[in-house]
């Protein structure tokens, strides 16, 4: 199959239609009505300061190039969405930012990644990953209580210190920021794996933001979730993006449109196009981008 062929067109869910469209034509609410399928990206916002910078990044697995010569900025206070067909290097790029790519024995990397003026290779990897947190595709809470999942992120390595009582406040704060507190406050001792998928993913977000990171990496965080949980997580991402830099990898173009400020389109390891979401979706400069985002317009 042609990797560039766009995904099948999807109807945009009602929840993300502007109120005027969703409720406006009361006389003809029937489906199939002439609703302009015009894409709607978020209104441009002022950029925050640059938090990370990727400069000429190349990553290869056993000699095979997965990401080739990518340069792009990651700004605080915005959502940067990385889009592109499967296997285009989005996830590898994301995993390079917190050096998780080093876990793959065959991976080799060149190029510079800078976090607040310091090269990530010079930072202690433990420190780096507490500042550049990550949430995965599948919700993966640890097999312990809700409380301990968040506390684990706050504690030193394998230690049980600081003790639970001292962590009650930071744990609560992280769960509140992740929008999960009200649902779990009555029983924080419950096993985290008993939560629903959407709740598990929000717990993973709480766990990631608990140590107070500067950057939050999200690798297709909604692909294992139902539409309702997806909406909740997207709202949460927008809220979090006010205070930190968010980088999200997504296969879902509608999702990128709904939440992204900047968009990077990757194809075969190359960053084909990078720019404000509005431009990438409505006036792509590259033909490959145009073909790919065409899927977003159904």
């Amino acid at each position: 199959m042609d990797p560039l062929s766009p995904p099948p067109p999807r109807r945009r869910i009602r929840a993300d239609l502007p109120a005027t469209i969703a409720e406006g034509n009361g006389s003809a609410p029937a489906l199939g009505g002439r609703r302009a399928p015009e894409p709607r990206t978020r209104p441009p916002r002022p950029y925050g300061p640059e938090r990370m910078r990727v400069d000429g990044l190349t990553v290869s697995y056993a000699g095979k190039v997965a990401v080739g010569g990518v340069t792009l900025p990651v700004r605080s206070g915005e959502v940067l969405a990385l889009i592109g067909p499967s296997g285009c290097g989005k996830t590898t790029l994301l995993r390079s930012l917190n050096r998780l790519v080093e876990l793959t024995p065959t991976a080799s990397r060149s190029g510079r990644i800078v976090l607040d003026d310091s090269d990530v290779d010079e930072l202690d990897v433990t420190r780096l990953r507490r500042r550049v947190a990550m949430v995965f595709q599948q919700p993966n809470p640890f097999p312990m209580s809700i409380f301990d999942n968040v506390a684990y992120a706050l504690r030193e390595q394998g230690s049980k210190r600081p003790r639970s009582a001292e962590l009650a406040e930071p744990v609560r704060e992280a769960l509140e920021r992740a929008g999960l507190w009200d649902e779990v406050a009555d029983d924080l001792g419950r096993p985290a794996l008993r939560l629903s998928g959407g709740q598990q993913q929000r717990l993973c977000i709480a766990r990631a933001i608990a140590p107070g990171p500067d950057v939050l990496l999200l690798d297709e965080p909604c692909s294992a979730l139902d539409p309702r949980s997806t909406t909740v997580i997207e709202q949460l991402i927008l809220t979090l993006a006010q205070s930190l830099a968010v980088v999200i990898v997504t296969h879902n173009l509608q999702q990128a449109m709904r939440i992204a400020d900047h968009v990077g389109f990757m194809y075969l390891g190359e960053l084909v196009e990078y720019g404000p979401a509005d431009e990438v979706f409505n006036a792509p400069r590259d033909e490959r981008t145009r073909d790919y985002v065409a899927g977003a317009f159904g």
Partner: protein, 319 residues
């Protein structure tokens, strides 16, 4: 295999329509399964009837005595305690070493050559008959350097028989089961769960200790319980390395070390000694002890089932 388009549902397959060879094979499979059930039922029923017939509460609480008269040769308190002690010693050693080996194999496993060697070593130990392990244990524990672990005669000869010696060799029986169960449990944990811990800035050691081992706990418990069953049921090592001497006989005076240095017996050796083949020839007591042993082992298997079922119905990650 595809039915004609008109048929509403495919015709049911009937054994009677199979070729003769298939029908014979099918019948043999049935017979084999049935036979196994009959044998298992017979063992349990026979030992149950015989055991219950001779089992008296006082047998469980009185020590064995050397006597030709069965009414004076006592019960099997010491062998019962011996079984528990040997099983505990063996399973503690096997647990510590087995879990470590399994963690190393699944989480590190480098260099690959060493991992392969460890893998083969575990298989060799698993395949070694316990009587061979026992003889090998005698070789080790009779060396003069290890004299403090067992009884040393006045001339300096090391006896080589003690709870420590027997328990250590027993651990080798349980070890492969613990390694296998732990490895399997660890390898079913999705990779992204490990990565989630690394992504929080955790080291490999912290991840193993706080995330992976707790997640593997049901698997580890299964391996330990299986190993306990094997240890409780072994006779060869008890006869050669524990003395199989009826009463627990401490050596020295530093409690509880003197008991561990001393000799004793277990239910298996007690059954052997009292069976018509052994020295005691008190079959009634052998049956009673065999019944208790069977109960212990069945209970352990039951625990394994419970734990395994709990694991299936319990926590699972979204894939």
């Amino acid at each position: 295999m595809s039915a004609p388009a008109t048929a509403a549902k495919p015709p049911r397959e009937r054994v009677a329509d199979w070729p003769l060879a298939d029908r014979v094979g099918y019948g043999l499979c049935w017979a084999a399964g049935g036979l196994l059930c009959v044998i298992a039922g017979a063992i349990v029923l026979y030992i149950l009837v015989q055991g219950l017939q001779y089992l008296r509460p006082e047998l469980l609480f009185s020590r064995p005595e050397v006597s030709l008269d069965q009414s004076e040769s006592g019960g099997f308190l010491d062998p019962l305690l011996g079984t528990f002690m040997i099983t505990s010693i063996g399973v503690v050693i096997a647990g510590i070493i087995g879990v470590s080996v399994a963690v190393w194999l699944t989480e590190y496993g480098r260099p690959a050559g060493l991992a392969r060697a460890v893998d083969s070593a575990v298989e060799v130990v698993a395949g070694t008959p316990s009587i061979v392990l026992a003889i090998f244990g005698l070789l080790i524990f009779q060396s003069s350097g290890l004299g403090f672990l067992s009884f040393t005669a006045e001339g300096g000869g090391v006896f080589g028989r003690s709870f420590i010696a027997a328990g250590t060799m027993m651990s080798l029986i349980a070890l492969p089961l613990v390694v296998g169960a732990t490895r399997e449990a660890l390898s079913t944990i999705p990779r992204h769960v490990r990565e989630a811990s690394y992504a929080l800035g955790k080291t490999r050691a912290a991840t193993i200790w706080r995330v992976l081992l707790p997640a593997a706990r049901p698997g580890i418990a299964t391996g330990l319980a299986l190993g306990m069953g094997r240890i409780a049921g072994d006779t060869a090592i008890v006869v050669i390395l524990l003395g199989a001497a009826g009463q627990i006989t401490p050596q020295g005076d530093v409690a509880p070390f003197n008991v561990l240095r001393g000799t004793g017996s277990t239910l298996t050796s007690y059954v052997y000694n009292n069976s018509p083949a052994g020295e005691g020839n008190a079959p009634q007591k052998a049956y009673a002890a065999a019944f208790v042993l069977l109960l212990i082992v069945i209970a352990l298997n039951f625990v394994v089932d419970l734990v395994a079922r709990g694991r299936r119905g319990g926590v699972q990650w979204i894939r």
